[in-house]
């Protein structure tokens, strides 16, 4: 990793690496802290939002209580108190809504404006609904309640009017009844007839009783209506009331004009005093009682309507309130969810940043130690290696230079021996040259002989071909002969048959044919013999055919062998001519070798001189190696203390030489070296003698003495590297 860099670069890069790790850990911490700050801020800002939404919900709940109270109360002052309560609630609601939307101080503390667009929209919706639906509803309920209370008062007044009118009417009716009873009593006292009374006064008394009853019933109906707020029921009571009024009118008209009633025939009142009372009764009834009752009924009807409306609004308020609550719950959930999510995120960020920072610290620690070790080692190791290498190199140079000088000596001797050998070689080469010439001549003769042999083989092949033709002719003749023999055989068979027939004929002829039979037998014998001869000949012919065939095959084989001999002979002839040519070339080559040997002889003598020069140069080399060793020891002390310096092991063979380790000193030393060469040669030749040392390093031989002591060869470090130390 730092193998090729300079020392400064290595150190700087090591520190930069550690600084980078520190920076990375710091950055991770900074980033995490920033993120967490943001998260915490979000939580702080969002928490009051949840509280505010709760407050808004509370305001709405209070308003619902306001509605209930308002519907229950009958007191006008209390209504206004409740209304104030409602206004406080509205104010609270609005302040929290404004707080959420715009930020600011509220009774629950400081609120930051919500940033969540959805939350804002939800709050806006809630506010709008609150202003548009919820508040107007409460306002309406309030107005209705105020109206109701006013009407209730009016109804009470009316009731009192009705009671007053009733008292008057009933008083009038009782006075009428009392007067009628008095008249009856007076009539009875005057001794009027029962029938007379029965026809007039008794009927009136009955009617006045009925009037009282009807009035009482009317009153009951009105009382009942006072307790009723239901429209249908009120209408029923109104009808009942109307019936009672009609009934009363019926009774009154019967008293004044007479007529038939449910009590029977009634005579009109003819007593002026009574008649006046009755008329008064009618008047009081029509002018006081009826209007009061009418007025009462109308107010009661209005109350009924208002109560119905209130009922309806109450139901509506339930619906609107629950809707309001739903919206606000949404707001609260939204705010709560934001808080939860942010808190969770914050915890995660904190955890991950703890892990990252911790691992960063560990990694940085390990990296710093590793870099330290690595850099230190990368600095000391190459230097130690260089020191070792230089020390070893100097050692080797010293011993090598000794070896070189002895080798140079032996080289000079060798060169002399070589020159003698070369002369021997030269004479051997002359001998060889004549031998090669003889070789070439012999090859030419062999070539001629092989040509003759080839011609002979060709002639032999021709003879064999002719022989094959002859054998084939023999085969053809044999086949013809065998055909002839077949004919002979045929004739013999026919003759045999004839002889048998003759024998048969002879037998037939009996005694006369006896001689003929003998002839026939003889003929038959002849036929048999000729058949036998034919058979034998046939066998012989077959035999000779087979032999001819075999001869033919052998001849073919001989022909092939001869052809092979011809081709081989040709090849041999070619090879021999090649040998002849090669021999000539060899002769030329040997001449060239002879020349080369002469040249070699000269070179050998030169070598002898050069090797002496080499010996002197190697002596100078030895002294250079010594001074190098001193330098290396010093370097070892600087780098690794005494331990490394102790490694130096060059034997001080050449004492009193100047130290040549300074910069550029090598070049000047090289110039000075030449002056010592002659001296060194002398020393080496006479002090150490020509002992044989195995040559490990051979310096260039041809006048390169100055190069052998170039500082770059001696010191394996350039100027730059030196400067580093």
């Amino acid at each position: 990793m730092f193998g090729n860099s300079s020392l400064g670069k290595k150190l700087i890069s090591g520190f930069i690496g550690i600084a980078l790790v520190v920076l990375a850990v710091g950055m991770v911490g900074y980033r995490s802290a920033t993120v967490m700050e943001g998260e915490t801020k979000t939580i702080i800002e969002t928490m009051p939002l949840a509280d505010a939404s709760m407050e808004m919900m509370l305001a709405v709940l209070k308003d619902e209580l306001v509605i209930m109270d308002m519907l229950e109360t009958n007191d006008a002052e209390k209504v206004e108190e409740i209304w104030k309560e409602h206004e406080e609630n509205v104010e609270s609601f609005d302040s929290f809504a404004d707080g959420i939307l715009g930020g600011g101080e509220t009774e629950a503390g400081m609120i930051f404006a919500a940033k969540d667009e959805k939350l804002r929209q939800l709050v806006k919706d809630a506010d709008e609904f609150h202003n548009g639906s919820f508040q107007p509803l409460i306002k309406e309920i309030h107005d209705l309640t105020v109206d109701e209370i006013a009407l209730s008062k009016k109804a009470e007044e009316n009731m009192r009017d009705v009671e007053k009118a009733y008292d008057e009417v009933i008083e009038t009716a009782e006075s009428l009844e009392g007067n009628i009873k008095n008249r009856i009593n007076s009539l009875i006292a005057k001794g009027a007839s029962a029938e007379e009374i029965q026809n007039k006064e008794s009927g009136w008394a009955d009617l006045s009783m009925e009037i009282k009853t009807t009035l009482a019933e009317t009153r009951i109906v009105i009382e009942e209506a006072g307790q009723s707020f239901e429209a249908g029921h009120l209408a029923g009571l109104r009808n009942e009331y109307d019936e009672k009024i009609d009934e009363f009118d019926g009774w009154i008209s019967a008293l004044l004009q007479g007529g038939t009633t449910a009590e029977g025939m009634i005579a009109a009142i003819d007593v002026p005093e009574l008649r006046g009372l009755a008329a008064n009764l009618d008047k009081v009834h029509d002018q006081q009682f009826s209007p009061a009752a009418e007025s009462f009924f109308s107010v009661q009807n209005e109350l009924g309507d208002i109560r119905a409306k209130e009922h309806k609004l109450d139901e509506e308020a339930d619906v609107v309130g629950s809707k309001m609550m739903t919206i606000l719950e949404g707001v609260e959930q939204r705010a709560g969810a934001t808080v939860d999510a942010t808190a969770e995120e914050s915890v995660q960020v904190a955890e991950s940043s703890i892990t990252q920072i911790f691992s960063g610290i560990v990694a940085g620690f390990v990296l710093a130690i590793a870099l330290g070790i690595l850099i230190t080692r990368s600095i000391t190791r190459p230097i130690n290696a260089v020191i070792d290498g230089v020390a070893e190199g100097a050692d080797q140079v010293a011993s090598a230079s000794a070896e070189i000088s002895s080798s140079s000596q032996s080289l000079a001797e060798g060169a002399t021996e070589q020159a003698a050998s070369l002369e021997e070689t030269s004479s051997s080469l002359e001998q060889m040259s004549s031998t090669v010439q003889q070789n070439a001549d012999n090859a030419g003769q062999a070539q001629q002989l092989s040509t003759v042999a080839k011609d002979t083989a060709v002639k032999g092949a021709d003879s064999v071909n002719k022989m094959i033709d002859a054998v084939n002719e023999i085969n053809t003749s044999s086949e013809e002969v065998s055909k002839i023999i077949k004919v002979i055989d045929e004739i013999a068979f026919q003759t045999n048959l004839l002889a048998l027939n003759a024998a048969v004929e002879a037998a037939r002829a009996g005694e006369h044919g006896k001689g003929f039979a003998v002839v026939a037998e003889e003929v038959r014998n002849l036929a048999g013999r000729s058949a036998e001869a034919a058979k034998t000949t046939s066998g012989l012919i077959e035999d000779s055919t087979a032999k001819a065939k075999m001869g033919s095959e052998l001849a073919t084989e001989s022909g092939e062998v001869l052809n092979e001999i011809v081709s081989n002979t040709t090849k041999a002839s070619d090879l021999i001519s090649e040998i002849a040519a090669a021999s000539r070339e060899q002769a030329e080559g040997i001449n060239q070798v002879t020349k080369a040997v002469t040249q070699m002889d000269q070179v050998t003598q030169q070598n002898s001189a050069f090797s002496e020069e080499t010996a002197s140069a190697s002596e100078e080399l030895s002294s250079q190696a010594e001074s190098l060793k001193d330098l290396v020891d010093r370097l070892g002390e600087i780098v690794g203390g005494a331990a490394v310096a102790g490694k130096g092991h060059i034997v001080h063979r050449v004492a009193g030489r100047g130290v040549a380790g300074q910069r550029g000193g090598g070049v000047r030393r090289a110039a000075a070296a030449k002056a010592h060469i002659a001296e060194n040669i002398h020393e080496i030749l006479h002090k150490e003698g020509p002992e044989k040392v195995p040559v490990r390093k051979v310096a260039p031989a041809k006048g390169a003495t100055s190069k052998t002591v170039h500082p770059k060869d001696v010191i394996p470090m350039d100027d730059e590297e030196f400067r580093e130390f």
Binding site: E490, F493, Q494, L497, L500, N501, A503, V504, A507, R508, G510, E511, G513, K514, A517, R524
Partner: protein, 185 residues
């Protein structure tokens, strides 16, 4: 040499003790058979045989022997032996059977030889199931046995009638087939 005996011989019937005399011997499936010389008319080499339809397998057909139509039977087939190929040595022995001339195809004729009466044994009996009437006897010659045939008993009377009819009918079939005798050879 013993012509007197041979002249009196022809009237003999099967089963009687045969007198010695001259016999024409021939080969059939490597066995030697003998025919009384007087039953033999002529010996000829194999020649063209005109096939006559609707005849048994052993009847080979008819030949034209110097203008005379003669029915020919294959003795191998007649004796129930495997049919042989006709070659150069195959001969037709023309025999006289009860006045009818008839050709017998044999593998080859051997010779005319004398067999004495004492050298002739009666035909062996193989029981009643096997008819040996067509064998005149067994001729012993130089350690070998030659079966002497009574050619008159070889063919039954019905067969003889058929042969006669073939001989009568055949001339018409035989016409126009001359001149191709030697094709087989």
């Amino acid at each position: 040499m013993e012509a007197t005996e041979t002249v009196s011989a022809p009237a003999k019937t099967a089963g009687e003790r045969l007198e010695g005399g001259k016999f024409l011997t021939f080969q059939l499936l490597n066995e030697e058979y003998g025919l009384e010389i007087l039953t033999v008319r002529e010996i000829i080499g194999i020649m063209d045989i005109t096939t006559v339809p609707k005849t048994p397998a052993y009847v080979k057909g008819v030949i034209n022997l110097r203008g005379q139509v003669i029915p020919v039977i294959d003795l191998r087939l007649k004796f129930g032996m495997p049919e042989g190929e006709y070659g150069k040595r195959t001969c037709i022995v023309v025999v006289n059977v009860n006045g009818l001339q008839m050709g017998i195809v044999v593998d080859t004729v051997s010779e005319v030889m004398d067999i004495d009466a004492e050298n002739i044994e009666a035909a062996p009996s193989f029981g009643t199931q096997i008819n040996t009437d067509y064998i005149l006897g067994m001729g012993k010659v130089q350690g070998a046995v030659k079966i002497l045939l009574d050619i008159g008993e070889v063919l039954t009377s019905e067969e003889m009638v058929m042969m006669e009819e073939i001989a009568k009918v055949a001339p018409i079939a035989g016409e126009g087939k001359k001149g191709k005798k030697k094709d087989e050879e």
